[in-house]
Amino acid sequence: MLNIENLSVNYKSNRNMVHALGPVAMKIETGDIIAVIGPSGCGKSTLLHVLSGIIKDYDGIVTLNGTTLNPKVHDIGFIPQNFGLLPWKNVEKNCLLSLKIKKRIIDSKLIERMEYIMDKLNIQDLKDRYPKELSGGQKQRVAIARAFIMNPDLLLMDEPFSALDALTREEAQELFIDVWNQYKPTTVFVTHSIEEAIYMGKKIVIMSHCPGAIIETIDNPLFNTEDLRQNEEYLKLSSYIRSISKRGWKV
């Protein structure tokens, strides 16, 4: 379980303090997938940076499975908006990077897992390519593969699909949900898209303007339903979230 209590983040930039996030409290059950949605600049990336151990200087408590969150202790898969692939490593080596850093022994079982995931995400044939030689959608699938291969305790994604065009995005989302359903790692992802939040989030967390606080957490009944857009519930839920955004993301 991921437990967040009283989390607040301030950025110190040349003698100025920017209160970017919080206070925020959340409890996320193991195996849940949470969509975080909110206005630009409300602190969504900041939240993910705390959860991924990139920001260490925060107020409050963040624990994962009972111990204080620490990327050295926990296995955290983080997919930034630009996918975070190392340009000097080919696809295969990029996928193995997390295992190398974690000093895991790469045995036949791990290789099998890697092959399987790469196969599912359709990147088998790209193994020897460098990120420069990939399309946006391909890069994204490599980043997803890299995160799943390490079997993370916590998976974090910052607007994972927003750099893709509409068609590629739908395909990538379907592929992602397919793989996610198989391994079900605890996941928090940030999105700008109401549709994406409803399609991929078991729970939807709606945040307010900067410094972001939680306006509402919605249990999403539509998670994992096929043919979402034909569903009547879908229209209701999306227009409800849209109304919060129209009101100016206020409580």
Partner: protein, 247 residues
Amino acid sequence: MKAKDKIKLFLQGFLMINVIWYLLAVIVDMRVLPTPLDVYMNLNNLYDSRLHIHILVSLYRVILGVGISLVLGMLLGLLMAYSESWNKLLNPLVYFTYPIPKTALLPVVMLLLGLGDSSKVTIIVLILVFQVIIAVRDAVLHISQETYNPIKSLGASKLQIFRYITLPSILPAMLTNLRLSIGTALSILFFAEGYGTQLGIGYYILDAWGRIDYLGMYAGIVAISLFGFVLFVLIDILEETTCGWKA
């Protein structure tokens, strides 16, 4: 670039230089500027004049000078990039000494270190090390913080961050710098080998010049050019094996 293209480029350049040289020699028509043919015909005498030994000695001085500059410059550059306080301490020093022509220090270095290899290598290091320091520091500072994020979220140690992010990010800049450094070191040979030695390609050319042996002098010039070219090709190969992802 493929090896085939490279050979083509080399041959084209070689041919063009020789044609220009030949035309100049014919137009000027003086003993100080022999035609390339005369020079190449004379090349087989070179083994007697032990040209290869001169080249090896120069190679030793260049490698030592460039090597020390690279190691020292990388250490100081990294120190300045990583530590605000070291940067504050060293930056004025680097900034102030950078534009001073270090060749002006040659007499001082000679007086302090004698006429042997140590003064020759030291002057090479003095000239090269500052540009290495600045290149390394700036290359490290240019890496965006975002680049580090994925590896930080994996709990990487400082050493791992250096190995997996910093080093590969600055490698292309380092190789460009190595190329410049070798070019500069080769030209420094001419005054560094002009004193206190009877060995080295710089000495060889200056000596032939002094003896009015123009054919020998040109042979030396051709030799040092080829020598420089071989070093450049080696860097090309190194670049292709380590920075292939950039191409």
